[in-house]
Symmetry: C2
Subunit: 94 residues, 2 copies
DNA sequence: CTGGATTTGTACGTATGTATT
DNA sequence: CAATACATACGTACAAATCCA
């Protein structure tokens, strides 16, 4: 099945590929750091993140997106609320 | 496929089950905190962790074990070295 | 030096449970 | 009750690095 073989979505001669995982992790962290997604803001649901990173990076699996979000929840950078959404941490109303 | 439905490996009437994920996370952290796995020590490979947590908790999937290790690597508690092993962080020789 | 075994790393897939709206 | 969305678990495939006979 899967594998990622040089990372699909990028052209042939591209050395030192960065994984989807790390790219998404960095991207979300950058959006938080830049203030685009401020503390307390709800981030897009998994489905929308998949659409986003599907276009920009070529990610095809929701489970890959989810693993990134899970890690950011564990590190305390995000907060998940089942049935509701995932929020940027650091807000006063926590 | 899977699902976990009340967590297999535990008897019927057991409320507020804790997930395999959290139990493994806590267990590894406890081993580190207790000094059983001191800084610099290599932890058992995924295969062995699966055998361990398969017996104690009923975990059946290597991918579940891996996710826990990935999180602990991201939090900086462990350090992974591809082809070699995963080590407890905090050692001088890092 | 070479090739197999070991082990971590990454990606995708699927099923199901639980909480909220 | 249905739809939405997060949470957890298991499974599969392959890549990459290291080790060792």
């Amino acid at each position: 099945m899967g594998g990622f073989a040089g990372l699909p979505g990028s052209t042939a001669a591209m050395p030192a590929e960065v994984s989807y995982y790390k790219r998404m992790l960095d991207d979300i962290r950058a959006r938080i750091a830049s203030g685009e997604w401020p503390p307390g803001r709800r981030i897009p649901p998994t489905r929308d993140l998949l659409a986003m990173y599907g276009e920009s990076f070529g990610v095809r699996s929701a489970s890959t997106v989810r693993r990134v979000v899970e890690v950011l929840i564990e590190t305390g950078e995000l907060r998940g609320h089942q049935g509701v959404g995932v929020y940027v941490a650091g807000d006063a109303t926590e």
